[in-house]
């Protein structure tokens, strides 16, 4: 099912949900 | 007074036939509607006020028209005369438009465009008139200053499927989707505007310029983390210092979140949401996307 595979591929690229120094500081 | 009234009405008719609207309006204005000498019913008073306002509006004279619409506003609430009431609404919307109170004008135009009856008294309300009112509502909303109330009206108009048939729809769509409008699109939109909507403001911008630059600035703030004023000027099609001036005013008026580094000549746009909240939002949309995929698989029997 190519469409589903493309959707999964796009979904995986959204991981990790966020990456930024500011986030790390806020998160800690 | 009766004779004076008849003569004035006759003269006004003649002025009107020669399209000397303001002279016709002045002629009718001389009628003493508050005279104690004879009984004048409210409907007559209302009809005269509305007629005078409409004549002044033919010459885009909002000031004089407003004076008579204000008089009419005391009479219209008790009037059962639907035609007059409709004409009053149209005059009022046009006066707000001429006074550049665009958002209020848009709401009234939109209200007029939603009339269901196609026959009011001996007046036929044709589709084209309603479409004109709807188009005027869209134009005024686009020209209104960017902000949450304008966004709400934009959403209402965008979701009204009648708008998708309007010539102005592509612009409405881009404005609603907060997309940058390029110069060719703005020029095409400018051709549809009335003279007062292209008037030069005290800060040397036209009404249209200001509305478009503010819109494009907000659209750029959705696309950029930061941008140099040089590049912003190129993107908006204006001089960099003008872009900086408008951006600083919007930030000051809290209509856009950001900060300006004048040394680097860069504007930093800020996200309304905190980093942690953004993280939450990203996770929510990730889970939503995952659900969409699982639903898609279920639909396909996988």
């Amino acid at each position: 099912e190519s469409s589903l595979l493309r959707q999964v591929s796009s979904l995986l690229r959204r991981l990790p949900a966020i990456e930024s120094e500011k986030f790390q500081d806020d998160f800690m | 007074e009766e004779q004076v009234l008849i003569i004035r009405e006759k003269l006004a008719e003649l002025y009107e036939s020669e399209q000397q609207w303001s002279k016709a309006a002045q002629m009718l204005s001389g009628i003493d509607l508050d005279s104690g000498m004879r009984v004048i019913d409210d409907t007559f008073r209302l009809s005269k006020c509305v007629q005078i306002a409409r004549l002044y509006l033919e010459d885009d004279d909002a000031i004089n028209a407003e004076a008579f619409i204000n008089k009419a506003s005391f009479l219209v609430s008790s009037s059962q005369h639907e035609v007059l009431n409709l004409q009053y609404k149209v005059c009022y919307a046009r006066i707000l438009d001429l006074k550049r109170k665009f958002l209020e004008a848009a709401l009234r135009y939109y209200d007029i465009s939603q009339i269901e009856k196609r026959q009011i008294g001996d007046e036929t309300i044709d589709e084209e008139a309603l479409e004109q009112a709807l188009s005027a509502a869209v134009t005024c909303t686009i020209l209104a200053a960017a902000g949450p109330q304008r966004s709400r009206v934009l959403a209402t108009l965008y979701k009204d499927e009648r708008c998708s048939k309007l010539k102005i729809y592509p612009i409405l769509q881009k404005v609603y989707l907060e997309r940058i409008l390029r110069k060719p699109e703005i020029d095409a939109f400018a051709e549809e505007l009335k003279p007062h909507q292209k008037a030069i403001l005290p800060d040397n911008f036209t009404v249209l310029d200001r509305a478009m630059i503010e819109h494009n600035l907000l659209s750029a703030s959705k696309l950029y983390t930061n941008i140099s004023f040089e590049e912003l000027g190129t993107l908006l099609g204006i001089a960099p210092h003008k872009a900086e001036k408008i951006a600083s005013r919007m930030i000051y008026e809290d209509r856009m979140r950001g900060s300006i580094d004048q040394v680097e000549a860069v504007i930093h746009f800020e996200d309304d949401t905190e980093e942690l909240q953004q993280w939450d939002q990203q996770i929510v949309s990730l889970c939503q996307a995952l659900n969409d995929i699982l639903d898609g698989m279920a639909k396909k029997g996988l």
Binding site: S9 | S228, E264
Partner: protein
């Protein structure tokens, strides 16, 4: 995934067209598909038997072109231009859009210099206009342009067709994600249990204290 919903019908249309035609006739169909402004997926068309049968025939170039749009980039085209048909502007635009999707597969932050190199773009304004008008407003990517750091931060990118061999690593990533999620849930469960235990201990400790206060009061009275 509105990009997938938008192109589902278009894919069906071209799959039907490809199924109903053979050999050279497929050329115009593939050219039309690779020029269509809203189509960014080609593996379904690649899977049509008539298309696969082009392999090794004098029309194999049609198959190569479709493979390029399914998995390749603008750079791939330039390095094979001699063996591929000439691209019309719509195809060039699409291949560059697909190139952005491929670049976004490996990094969430795309440097302007890399993008300008890969897309053959001369300056920042032209690059940003391309990313804004042809990528973000086309709905294939979402993100933020950072002029100071000269990079494009990708928040969402539509999925491209999977290249042969990519499925394994995707399954691996999903397994890792599943493992991480499971262990996260376990550790959250433990934290909850720990918190419950601690609150029970606190409550017991507070009750003991209250009892002792009562005893002292009684002994005093």
């Amino acid at each position: 995934m509105d990009i997938e919903e938008r192109q589902a019908e278009i894919i069906d249309h071209f799959v039907k067209q490809a199924t109903a035609n053979k050999d050279a006739a497929l050329g115009s169909i593939i050219a039309e598909a690779t020029s269509h402004p809203s189509l960014f997926a080609f593996s379904e068309i690649l899977a049509v038997p008539n298309v696969a049968e082009l392999e090794g025939t004098e029309n194999t170039v049609i198959l190569d072109l479709l493979r390029l749009f399914a998995h390749g980039t603008w750079s791939d085209f330039k390095s094979n231009a001699g063996h591929l048909p000439h691209l019309v502007p719509d195809q060039v635009l699409k291949l560059k859009q697909l190139t952005v999707l491929t670049l976004a597969e490996t990094n969430k932050v795309l440097p302007y210099d890399l993008l300008m190199l890969e897309l053959d773009v001369a300056n920042v304004r032209e690059l940003e206009d391309f990313l804004i008008n042809e990528c973000m407003y086309a709905g294939i990517v979402r993100g933020k342009l950072d002029q100071l750091r000269r990079c494009f931060e990708v928040q969402f990118a539509a999925g491209r067709d999977l290249r042969p061999g990519q499925l394994g690593s995707m399954i691996q990533t999903l397994s890792n994600w599943l493992g991480t999620s499971d262990s996260l849930l376990v550790s959250i469960q433990e934290k909850i249990k720990w918190a419950d235990t601690m609150s029970e201990l606190d409550n017991k400790h507070r009750k003991d204290l209250e009892d002792r206060v009562e005893d002292v009061k009684k002994s005093l009275s």
